[in-house]
């Protein structure tokens, strides 16, 4: 870690966040609703990266993975953005409630009101403010608590006596709990925070689809961070096989993401039921070009470019493709949030890009700051030797 110019990264991230802050203020002065919507999807983008990084760590423990130990400190550090992301999420959701969520307006549930909406009123048992807040608190407490313990044990294990695996076994159990909790809450939180924007519409596949998107973005960020740290000499044990495995992950989950996107779209397209198809009608009428470009970026590019073994190990290809994939999944989230809130008035401008800068700055600052506080190389892990000698 001491080969990294931490000051430079911090300066860059503070500048990014400052630009973002200014644009957020301008955004609120010009169009409040658009600004809340931009804040929501940009924050969700980085929140998803942090949450899926925590999930990645848990998966490595539960699957007894050996290969990933030399890079495990990277997803652990990315996961430390989670508390910041969740605090911001709570502020955005509660502050922008009425701008973002149509269902939060009380007159929709009043049969005497002219705005009475029987469909939304029928969902009141689930979509009401107290229960919404209770769910949010449960998700946040679970994710933060479990991931905090996993990371704490992982760091404490560095100083444990040699051959002592009690902390590893503890983390195995914690990770198993995290994964079960994550399986339910990653779906439920995406219904709450994203799907409920288009209140009339629902999809049973939505949670999985959001999960796949967040996992791809997170894998890309992990890969880019590992490549960056390796190029600076901070991860001497990482070899081509580790990079190859990360490339395989990005390749496979890009296909998985497309599979879920098509599965969701295909059924609605087939059935052509009015209340279901409106969601895609909106997107295909007003956002056809970005939608199709987004699909091409997120599916065709990784499939064709990352197909060969050499490409998966090539740092330059991974860096460029990773940056493009991040843009692709950002557009994906944009198309999930903005059409439902802004309709055909949605566009990309200072609101959307400015708030992206803000969260990107915060993300970089928190991740690298926390990364610098612990050793990047795990010691005393039962699989560390296997990981150092990993070859595929």
């Amino acid at each position: 870690m001491n080969t990294i110019d931490l000051k430079k990264i911090k300066t860059i991230s503070i500048i990014l966040a400052a630009i973002g802050m200014v644009s957020i203020i301008i955004g609120f002065l010009t169009d409040v609703q658009r600004e809340w919507a931009s804040l929501l999807f940009n924050n969700f983008f980085f929140f998803a990266i942090a949450l899926a990084a925590a999930f990645f760590v848990a998966v490595q423990y539960v699957s007894n993975s050996g290969w990933s130990i030399v890079i495990q400190r990277v997803p652990e550090a990315i996961g430390t953005y989670l508390p910041v992301a969740l605090v911001l999420m709570a502020i955005i959701i509660l502050g922008g409630m009425h701008s973002i969520y149509h269902w939060s307006h009380h007159d929709l549930y009043d049969p005497n009101s002219e705005h009475y909406d029987p469909i939304i009123a029928g969902k009141q048992a689930f979509l009401n403010l107290p229960f919404f807040i209770i769910r949010m608190v449960v998700y946040m407490a679970g994710w933060l608590g479990l991931f905090y313990l996993i990371r704490k044990n992982s760091i404490a294990a560095d100083f444990a006596p040699l051959g002592d695996n009690t902390l590893y076994k503890k983390n195995f159990r914690l990770s198993a709990i995290f994964i079960v909790f994550f399986a339910v809450t990653s779906s439920a939180s995406s219904w709450d925070w994203l799907m409920s924007i288009d209140t009339h519409w629902f999809s049973t596949l939505f949670g999985w689809y959001i999960f796949s998107g967040m996992f791809v973005s997170s894998l890309v960020v992990i890969t880019l961070t590992v490549l960056y740290l390796k190029s600076k000499g901070a991860l001497p044990s990482v070899n081509d096989s580790h990079i190859h495995d990360l490339g395989k992950f990005v390749f496979a989950f890009s296909i998985f993401w497309t599979y879920l996107w098509v599965s969701q779209f295909l059924l609605y397209w087939y059935a052509n039921i009015p209340e279901e198809i409106t969601y895609y009608q909106e997107r295909f009428q007003n956002f056809k070009t970005p939608l199709l470009i987004m699909l091409a970026i997120n599916f065709v590019m990784p499939v064709l470019i990352l197909m060969t073994r050499a490409a998966k190990q090539n740092a330059k290809i991974l860096m460029i493709l990773g940056a493009i994939l991040l843009i692709g999944h950002w557009v994906d989230l944009y198309l999930l949030v903005m059409p439902g809130i802004m309709g055909n008035e949605a566009s990309v401008g200072i609101h959307e890009i400015g708030s992206f800068f803000f969260f990107a700055g915060a993300f970089l600052f928190v991740v690298f700051n926390n990364m610098s506080k612990v050793s990047l190389e795990i010691k005393n892990h039962p699989y560390i030797e296997e990981s150092v000698h990993h070859h595929s």
Binding site: L266, Y270, R309
Partner: protein
């Protein structure tokens, strides 16, 4: 008939280092038998990268084209079917409903093509004669097949034993 020597090993790491030692002394390793794929063995033996992946890509493209041809001919050209009032009569408008077919056919052709190519390259067809001289290498042992280059049999066996082989065998094969 030709005389070949076999060094038999009981551990993959020892096998790997034995291969490297023999290679560095310019011995001619004809074949290595292992019960499971040993990581890094293909590099140690200096094998060229397999072209199976390229072949699989081509098989996949064949399947995709086949699927497009099939769906286009059956459901657009020969007998247009109006399913659920979908936009009909052009391939592009109906493309969404063909995705599962195209997907399945791509995988079908890629997978079967790869398996068949593999069997043909390895000469495994019905009635093929078994060619593995050390049957234990299909369960728990590893064997290196060495061409003796007309060297002294004793010398070859010594070399094999020096690489920690648990046993050496000399067989006459054609």
């Amino acid at each position: 008939m030709k005389r070949v020597h076999y060094g038999i090993y009981d551990d993959e790491e020892i096998l790997l280092s034995a291969v490297k030692q023999l290679k560095s002394k310019n011995w001619n390793i004809k074949e290595v038998y292992t019960p499971f794929p040993v990581h890094g063995l293909e590099h140690a033996l200096g094998y060229k990268h397999t072209r199976l992946s390229t072949a699989s890509f081509i098989y996949g493209l064949t399947g995709l084209s086949l699927g497009m041809l099939m769906t286009w001919y059956m459901l657009i050209q020969d007998w247009p079917i109006n399913i659920g009032g979908k936009p009909n009569f052009t391939f592009a408008d109906n493309f969404t409903s063909f995705i599962p077919v195209l997907f399945e056919l791509t995988i079908f052709c890629a997978a079967h093509g790869m398996v068949l190519s593999f069997l043909i390259v390895c000469g495994l067809f019905p009635g093929a004669k078994e060619s593995n001289p050390i049957p234990e290498t299909t369960s728990h042992l590893f064997a290196i097949e060495l061409d003796d280059n007309n060297a002294n049999a004793e010398e070859v066996n010594q070399i094999l034993l020096s690489t920690k082989a648990i046993e050496v065998k000399t067989l006459e094969r054609d």
